[in-house]
Amino acid sequence: MDLINKSDNNFEQCIKCTVCTVYCPVLAVNPDFPGPKHGGPDQERLRLKMPSFYDEANKFCMNCKRCEVACPSNVRIGDIIQKARLKYSRHKPTVRDFFLSHTDLVGTISTPVAPIINSSLKLDSTKYLLEHVMQIDHRRLFPTYTHEKFVSWMKKQEEEQRRFKKQVCYFHGCYVNYNYPSLGKDLVKVMNLLGYGVQLLKKEKCCGVALISNGYFAQAKIQGRINLNSIRKAAQNNISTIATSSTCVLTMRDEYPHLLELDNKDIKEHIELATRFIYRLIEDDHFDLSELKFNQKKWKVAYHTPCHLEKLGWEYYSIELLKRIPNIELTILRPNCCGIAGTYGFKKENYDYSQKIGAPLFKEIEEGNFDYVVTDCETCKWQIEMSTSKKCLHPITLFAMALE
């Protein structure tokens, strides 16, 4: 019996236990946010009565889904609030929102002139200008842009990758493509060692998570359709699609059907996190890890579970992969949102809340004396690297490093 979708009116399953309010990271620091219970199921009944009940303060919701994880009644609280924003909010996206959310566009423009962009983004004058004109907090550090896009590099590897009998598609996401292609290169390296050749999807667009949270639902839907069709085409050729970004995966598996009403039932099982795919290889296909040459370096590593990965429940796979690295001393950090929530933490009105939300995590990291922090989400990585003294790597990167 389906306890989660008893009816379309998922909010009715709420029995007002208030547990979600205990785990909402925003509520802990920002009293202007109605909170998951009130902004979600409570106000949903009122909004159905009259749309004027919609409270614009619901924009403070980070869509971290921690409320949903905590809910004993399987209420999709985060979805309820996001859907309400879509339906009732009268807030129009600003230039800043456009700039922050149209990552494909900004990435495409920036990469050819990456060195200039990177150095100017470091200047105080640029930062203050961005804050003054676009309300992007001057303290926030931007990720650097790469000069050679990941897809360009991949094109050069095409022939070699095709030689592998087993193939897998890689949804690289915006971050790997425009900012940090080395993660993509590590992924290719690791998959090759596991016997898989890597190819790109026929056509890949930004998953759209930033578009959704900034109100560009129509654009997100267009991009979503393209992505689903590409994944579908790959699935038809019996090729699975893997991604390294936990947020991209959650968006395409859950947000597409729940918020954008894009039906992905036929291919939902064909898009998954790289570490989950690798877990299957090791556990079910019995890939023998002793075939790989680990360099036996000793590392003290802390693993941070990104909020979206906690919602998927898939941190298990990343952790199991890390455990397979010999000589690793692994600590699982306490579940705590890092506070950046994608584009949320760039906005001036949210910056201080973001930092307050992440403070306990940063403290635990600094006190732990780790060599590296590991996490699957790129925005968590930016936040941790900006707010602590530690370098933050993707599990695949660490795994690749262990195989050097």
Binding site: M1, L3, C17, V19, V22, G313, Y316
Partner: protein
């Protein structure tokens, strides 16, 4: 697939206790919990047995067991027998201690706790910072300074002071108005116990609080505060007490329960430190069973990757946490379809007076005397059930909810270890 020694479905008091006991002996365990547990509404105390099914008060739970076995032979305590009951009750307290949940009380004699509505109720174990008494008619002190936060609606000093005065303790009410609390009050719905507790996890706020307590409680023997302190930091109350040089106790508030949440966190932390895996926010949605044995289970999050164990334990709770589901004409266990002890006539489920015994509260999964689950009248060899999902007792009227959760969890864990 994901392979474990024991797969525990339900991550509340019962599931975590079971998991800790097993993990202590080196078993590789996973707990799957669809959400946070009923510990979030804890009163601050654990009840073992407060009344017999016929309403008779119980002062010494151990001594009342023989009466219980006459009145309700299907009660989980009766199934385990008196000796085991005593041993497991003591073990439960030790387990809680070991996790960092310090309590006062004994299974041999009930003591009394103060409820948010100023009733005096018997109980087994009460967490250290909470106000309690051995004699329901008095406290061992002469005067209380009773504080509440301005605008906090889930605490009732008027009821409490009236009650305490009647019990012979002079009680003076005070209000605390701090700017940090005032800021939280801006939110119409979120001045809850947990949000206040978070404020006082900060040292600065505690310093201000200490100043207020020192000043206002100067002429009183004991300071009482609402139980909305100490979410992350378990030592807030003892710190306050040391600073002002007086005993400080808390009195339970309306949910959410800060102490209950802290207890849940401590249990979970212990379980994970022992190597246990805790999967929060996941629900079992498919089961692979053959010849009265569970082969594997599947969950929403893990999709086609099954979770496999040598043993399975079902402790997913009662209706509240959807361990049991009530349809208009029947009650089911939505995961395994186990045999449920319930009445097929819905009119039998309730009576019109909500304070009378409600039969639906006694419904639950049927088991043998060793708490092995039963499906289609046959025992499921590798599936045990424990906690609130069990049938045959009334947690509300008998006041035995946490006792059943703890004792049956340990019983089942030890059954599995014995194998």
């Amino acid at each position: 697939m994901m392979k474990f020694d024991v797969v525990i479905i339900g991550g509340g008091l019962s599931g975590l206790t079971c998991g800790i006991r097993l993990a202590q002996e080196g078993k590789k365990c996973v707990i799957i919990s669809s959400g946070q547990s009923a510990l979030h509404f804890s009163s601050g105390s654990f009840d073992l047995l407060n009344s017999l099914p016929d309403g008779t008060r119980v002062t010494n739970p151990l001594e009342s067991l023989s009466d219980l076995s006459l009145l309700n032979p299907t009660h989980p305590y009766v199934k385990m027998g008196k000796e085991r009951f005593a041993a497991l009750a003591e073990e439960s307290k030790q387990l809680l201690e070991g996790v960092g949940i310090h309590t006062k009380g004994s299974y041999k004699k009930n003591h009394y706790r103060i409820t948010p509505l100023a009733m005096v109720k018997s109980t087994w174990l009460t967490m250290m910072d909470f106000l309690s008494t051995d004699d329901p008619k008095t406290f061992n002190c002469k005067s209380f300074a009773l504080f509440n936060f301005v605008g906090y609606l889930d605490f009732y000093p008027d009821y409490l002071s009236e009650k305490f005065e009647r019990m012979g303790v002079k009680t003076q009410k005070f209000s605390i108005d701090l700017s940090s609390v005032e800021r939280m009050r801006r939110n119409p719905s979120e001045l809850r116990s947990t949000n206040i507790a978070r404020l006082f996890d900060e040292e600065e706020a505690r310093k201000n609080l200490i100043r207020i307590l020192e000043e206002k409680a100067a002429d009183y023997e004991v300071v009482l505060l609402p139980a909305c302190l100490g979410l992350e930091n378990a030592n807030v109350i003892s710190e306050l007490s040391k600073a002002i040089g007086k005993p400080v106790y808390v009195v339970a508030t309306f949910p959410p329960s800060v102490a209950g949440i802290r207890a849940q966190y401590l249990l979970k932390q212990k379980f994970m430190r022992l190597g246990g895996m805790y999967m929060l926010g996941d629900t079992v949605n498919r089961v692979d069973m053959k010849e009265n044995s569970i082969n594997k289970i599947f969950t929403v999050n893990h999709g086609d990757i099954p979770i496999v164990g040598d043993d399975y334990i079902l402790c997913s709770g009662s209706f509240f946490s959807q361990g049991l589901v009530a349809l208009p004409d029947k009650v089911i266990d939505p995961i395994f379809g186990l045999d449920i002890d319930y009445s097929p006539n819905r009119q039998d489920w309730y009576t019109a007076n909500v304070y009378d015994k409600q039969r639906y509260l006694t419904f639950g999964v049927e088991t043998n005397n060793d708490f092995l689950a039963i499906k289609d009248k046959k025992i499921v060899r590798n599936l045990h059930a424990c906690g609130a999902i069990l049938g045959g007792f009334d947690a509300l009227k008998e006041g035995c909810g946490s006792g059943v959760s703890l004792l049956t969890a340990l019983y089942v864990a030890e059954e599995i270890l014995r194998k």
